[in-house]
Amino acid sequence: MIEVLLICILALCLYTVESKDLLFGTIALSAISLLSALLFYLLKAPDVAITEAAVGAGVSTVVYVWAIKATERKDIS
């Protein structure tokens, strides 16, 4: 179970880094946060799970979405 979650996270990380659309990257990143929150819950760390869900998937996504919307969405380099 843990390995499956980790492999999903790894795949999402690859997508985040390689995707041409930064907004999709951000969504993948918040999915990573949610999956790791689930992972932390399974690993008997409910406090960390709540924090990761609230801070990682919540606050940091808002900040990323703000930055991308205020500038440009495509990674053209």
Binding site: L6, C13, L43, S60, D75
Partner: protein, 114 residues
């Protein structure tokens, strides 16, 4: 063992984003990922040492080590703060130069006055 290797790979993917990608936002993505990898590693290993969450309800025995969890709470929050500040700077750089490409940003700033 295999789970730790996957976490190590996540770390390396983050490093690739941080250094190999030229887009500023991608670099911040990479930073978030390497931070998350260390957090996962710490919690995962700490979680193997017991069988129940560290909340002392009556009858709870054999808890996992709570110290890594408390440390990682701090690390997660600090990671997000770094992300927010880095993005605010990237935003200002974009406003100043119109680009997210690190080399282009440097060139355009060099052309103007420093």
């Amino acid at each position: 063992m295999i789970d730790r290797i996957i976490v190590g790979l996540i770390f390396l993917v983050g490093l690739w984003g941080l250094i190999g990608k030229r887009n500023l936002i991608k670099k911040v993505f990479g930073l978030s990922i390497i931070n998350a990898a260390v957090v996962i590693l710490f919690i995962m290993e700490g979680g193997k040492a017991g069988s129940s969450a560290p909340i002392l309800e009556p009858g709870v025995r054999d808890i996992v080590d709570p110290v890594p969890q408390a440390l990682m709470l701090t690390a997660i929050v600090i990671g997000v703060c770094v992300t927010a500040l880095a993005l605010a700077m990237a935003y200002r750089l974009y406003k100043a130069t119109g680009s997210f490409d690190i080399d282009e940003v440097r060139e355009r700033l060099d052309d103007g006055h420093r």
